[in-house]
Symmetry: C2
Subunit: 207 residues, 2 copies
């Protein structure tokens, strides 16, 4: 029997992505966002939700560009800091000693010291409520060669990103390898054994 927790944001896990942009004055800034995710395969897009009063928002709208900087677990304190302070108050690159590098494909800065970078051009903006969703078409991905696997893809255990828990606000690292997508389920695809009898609690749909 499930316990109802109400209409709260308790889906998990959420990624922890650092969004890089130039401000209206051309200065590089970063902020941390967790209301994010990939949203389309073709064109390749991801979505990042930002509150319009955030300093980053105006710059992203002006330059129609942002970067996603994916940090490793040992950068978690820095990533958390990037989400706690406004770029209006502090130069976050200066404070942390990180190096802003101008994107090659879009007009936004990325963090040289982060292992995995995605350069995005804004192609759609959706006002949803207190957050506005910026859809970015992926124009390039850049990685430290040290985090690539033998096929040249970013290896999750080498990038070693971390996730956020809505509700409890805990950060957790990525853990054990479980298997391959579109492969782990093959045995079930083949199986034609009768499942255990269960009494369905499902009422018919309303229409």
């Amino acid at each position: 029997m499930k316990q109802s927790l109400g209409p709260k944001i308790l889906a998990q896990p959420a990624p922890v992505w650092v969004i890089g942009s130039y401000g209206l004055d051309g200065r590089p800034n970063v902020m941390t966002a967790a209301w994010c995710g990939v949203c389309c395969s073709k064109p390749p897009c991801l979505a990042v939700s930002i509150q319009p009063q955030r300093l980053s928002f105006a710059g992203i709208m002006e330059h129609k560009a942002f970067t996603v900087n994916i940090g490793s677990a040992d950068q978690a304190a820095m990533v958390d800091y990037f989400g706690m302070v406004s770029g209006n108050k502090e130069d976050k690159f200066h404070k942390t000693g990180m190096t802003p590098v101008k994107g090659e494909m879009v007009n936004a800065p990325y963090i040289e010291e982060f292992p995995l970078i995605v350069e995005c051009a804004v192609i759609a903006v959706h006002e949803l409520g207190i957050h506005t969703q910026c859809v970015g078409e992926i124009r390039d991905v850049k990685a430290d060669p040290s985090v690539l696997d033998t096929k040249g893809m970013p290896d999750m255990l080498k990038v070693h990103p971390f996730v956020f828990t809505p509700g409890s606000r805990a950060y957790h690292a990525i853990g054990d390898y479980l298997g391959q997508g579109f492969s782990l389920g093959k045995e079930l695809c083949k199986a034609d054994t009768e499942p255990p009898k269960t009494t369905s609690k499902a009422a018919p749909a309303r229409s």
Copy 2:
């Protein structure tokens, strides 16, 4: 020096959420989605991208509702299977012995045996390309009491969800606790020491 990997979907990690819906014929169905994420705090919303030719899509549009079912790492093979086979071909609830339960707040079924459930009403639909993004307003969250922490919030290590790696397609479990969001970064907020001198590679923004 970063290596360019091209305009590919290589952002990580991605959640692995099982989307529940009733079909046009009222039958419960589930499919697995990774192009997902929370997208707004008020109203509380999450976004799930689905290809329109998927069986689930028509039902979600018809009933304006879906559930997000968050499985634990030991359910990974089943979750993978849910993403490999169409509900047109197989009754995935029957095959796996899972129990569909009608949502309390929306007209969509959830999986009784999964630890964490989010009931969503569709409030916006965005055609982005081969995927269409369904924005769902969260109407309720339901959890197994066994996965809640002492404050009644879903505990990441008890839900024990897993993530997907775009590119390599690897699934990984959630790992070590790193600390609290909006807390880990406090030391950096206080610090006013000069960061190490770095040579900025940043060119000025174009505008």
